[in-house]
Symmetry: C2
Subunit: 180 residues, 2 copies
């Protein structure tokens, strides 16, 4: 951010009175521009003993496999976002079940959320942002070709919970790759 | 948003190619400005059979009682945000327990999250944004003077789960007041 989205004048970066963090502040109109983390919401679409994954047609991670997921939009709920992303990326209809994982990724200011979901049929196809969509049996999940760590951590929890038959909510935090 | 935060020129509002929603688009530099929901994160700080609430010193809902909560900042986790907000609003230290509630409020593009938490001592005090901080026994919770519906819904779930001794994660959605 270099210019004020309210009045078009250049913004400065400093700590406003009464605040503790640097913000983009407009000295022309007085607006303080806050920046906040974004939510990425997706689903774990399950049909019997198989899980629906989509292979990404766009960067980042073009060509790798993902659960249907994407940035939550204004004026929708987290559940709406999971259903919409599954439609957009895999042309598939799901019935949402419980919220299953919340993955904090503070170094990129994102929170990823995944819902358990029942795929209503085997009618699915790649959406515009996908190269391919496919149902994977648990033993066939392409672990080395998953697009994001939030996907692999969510799928690992899913497999573990499925093995016990008891599904609980999982909260995780990812550090930058290579950090300790 | 009226001006491009990247180049300072006026923005237009239309659907970009390949998108399905109207965005603020800059025809001068090509930037597309996405707007996304914000997260509000808080805690349910419990000491024995009492819950810590803070009375708001700022608008909105000045003078009403709330659980410590506020907008999540960039580069923090949801847990970090709950701990920080409890420090800022109630000068209190907590030990986080499980994530307890997620409340969707799509008409204001917010998602509220609350963690169960153990208050580590009875050392607390109003922060700059609070008029008063107080431990309430369950029977004394000021239901008619709570600041937000996400607070009352979270406290109701807390009381119900406490009565059964089994705490689970709750996902809720709030519609505009007066809607059906």
């Amino acid at each position: 951010m270099r210019f004020c989205s309210n009045c078009g004048q250049p913004v400065a970066r400093r700590i406003p009175p009464g605040d503790t963090l640097e913000r983009h502040v407009c000295d022309a109109c007085g607006e303080i521009h806050y920046q906040n983390p974004k939510m990425v919401v997706g689903a774990i679409p399950v049909l019997g003993d198989r899980i629906l994954l989509a292979r990404r047609a766009i960067e980042p991670r073009l060509g790798l496999w993902t659960l249907p997921a994407g940035f939550m939009e204004n004026n929708e709920s987290t559940g709406d976002a999971a259903v919409r992303e599954t439609r957009e990326e895999a042309c598939a209809e799901i019935e949402l079940e419980a919220l299953f994982s919340l993955v904090n990724i503070p170094h990129i200011s994102q929170v990823h959320l995944f819902y358990l979901a029942r795929l209503v049929s085997d009618d699915f196809a790649p959406g515009e942002e996908s190269l391919e969509t496919r149902l994977f049996r648990i033993d066939d999940i392409p672990w080395d070709e998953l697009a994001f760590r939030s996907i692999s951590i969510t799928l690992k929890h899913y497999l573990a919970d499925r093995a016990t038959g008891r599904f609980t909510m999982h909260v995780e935090e990812l550090a930058p790759v290579g950090s300790h």
